[in-house]
């Protein structure tokens, strides 16, 4: 299961003692996010206008959640996340990070995939989407991968099966020829939806 189910209004969370770091060079956006997460019950919010400021705070404080803008003038969010994954303190190396972006530059698409963020969220960010991502990160059982070329949460969490034409590297990957695909694989969510009883009008 991907575990990324929609939130129910009755789901509950205690975010009082959670440390949040928000990084963006736009002060208005910092206020928007801070205002949303304060409403979720978060008391400890650290706001930074640059990656440099964020690094200073990350060296002193253990964070539980980081939200960073992808594009900032001096050092971008991709580079900040790579620094968190490789060079920050042990306490912060695996911290959940959400990358927010209004627009992804063509040259940055692969950076976004490989920097080590848990999720990328498109701006404008609504409170519901933000809270949903916080729940998703808290609920998910994704492993943390460290190797020469990548450091961050396992990027294969949707269980779409191994890439076509390969045997896959996971024990549960089905090996052998399954025939020629005629359309895209079903996602785990689509498969799950077959099993969910639904109300129908007769």
């Amino acid at each position: 299961m991907s575990g990324h189910r929609s939130l129910l209004d009755t789901d509950k969370a205690n975010l009082e003692r959670v440390n949040f770091l928000v990084v963006d060079d736009n002060p208005m956006f910092l206020d928007i996010i801070a205002s949303s997460i304060t409403s979720f019950g978060v008391r400890n919010i650290f706001k930074c206008g640059s990656a440099r400021e964020a690094k200073v705070i990350l060296q002193k404080t253990t964070m539980d959640f980081v939200i960073t803008e992808a594009q900032m003038p001096e050092e971008d969010g991709y580079s900040l996340i790579r620094w968190i994954r490789r060079d920050s303190s042990d306490a912060n190396r695996q911290v959940p990070v959400v990358l927010v972006t209004g627009h992804t530059r063509q040259s940055m698409v692969l950076q976004g995939r490989d920097c080590g963020a848990h999720f990328t969220v498109a701006k404008p960010v609504t409170p519901k989407v933000l809270l949903e991502r916080i729940f998703w990160v808290a609920r998910e059982s994704r492993g943390f991968i460290e190797c020469e070329s990548y450091c961050g949460p396992d990027r294969r969490y949707k269980r779409l099966g191994p890439p076509f034409g390969t045997d896959g590297r996971r024990a549960e990957d089905v090996k052998g020829e399954l025939g020629v695909p005629v359309e895209a694989n079903l996602s785990q969510e689509e498969i799950d939806s077959f099993m969910v009883p639904a109300k129908v009008a007769i």
């Binding site: 969370a13 209004g102 190797c147």
Partner: protein
């Protein structure tokens, strides 16, 4: 290549499971109310950004158009940041299209003034169109912007693919 895989429960999930806290419905409602209080301020900022776009980059209003791709990109991306204040206007989609135009224009070294003018006019129309514009019309306008960029600059390259 050595790959190390660890599975550690985050402090976030432990803290969230502590007794107390608030329900999702209440939290989202509170956050929407808090953002509502910032709405007027954000609308004023959007108007300010549209003004900067017009005076700096629209051929009809700007005394001299500076071919400054990074600033054009920055102004349109700032509109996306605060576009929650104009729900249903689709202004964020038009601003996204302008970001795309600035990004790809910079990459290809093409400053297409006519296309930039169309984007700025559309942004203004989406901002001030009010109820005179239906959602379908707004989306149609945004789709037109995408088509204009593709027509002028070609299709975007796939990730990792080098452009000419």
């Amino acid at each position: 290549m050595t790959v190390v895989r660890t599975n550690i429960k985050s402090r976030l999930s432990k803290e969230m499971a502590q007794p107390g806290g608030i329900a999702v419905g209440v939290a989202v409602q509170r956050a929407e109310k808090a953002l509502g209080a910032m709405q007027n301020q954000c609308v004023e900022m959007v108007d300010g950004l549209l003004g900067e776009l017009e005076t700096g980059y629209a051929s009809g209003s700007a005394t001299t158009v500076t071919k400054d791709f990074p600033n054009l990109y920055r102004l349109s991306s700032r509109i996306i940041d605060i576009a929650f204040c104009l729900p249903g206007s689709q202004i964020e989609k038009a601003a996204y299209a302008l970001c795309d135009l600035a990004d790809r224009g910079e990459e290809l070294g093409i400053w297409d003034q006519a296309c930039i003018d169309v984007h700025i006019s559309t942004l203004k129309l989406l901002r001030h169109g009010g109820e005179a514009l239906t959602t379908a019309q707004r989306l149609h306008m945004v789709a037109g912007l995408r088509q204009a960029t593709t027509r002028r600059l070609g299709k975007p390259a796939a990730p990792g693919e080098k452009t000419a």
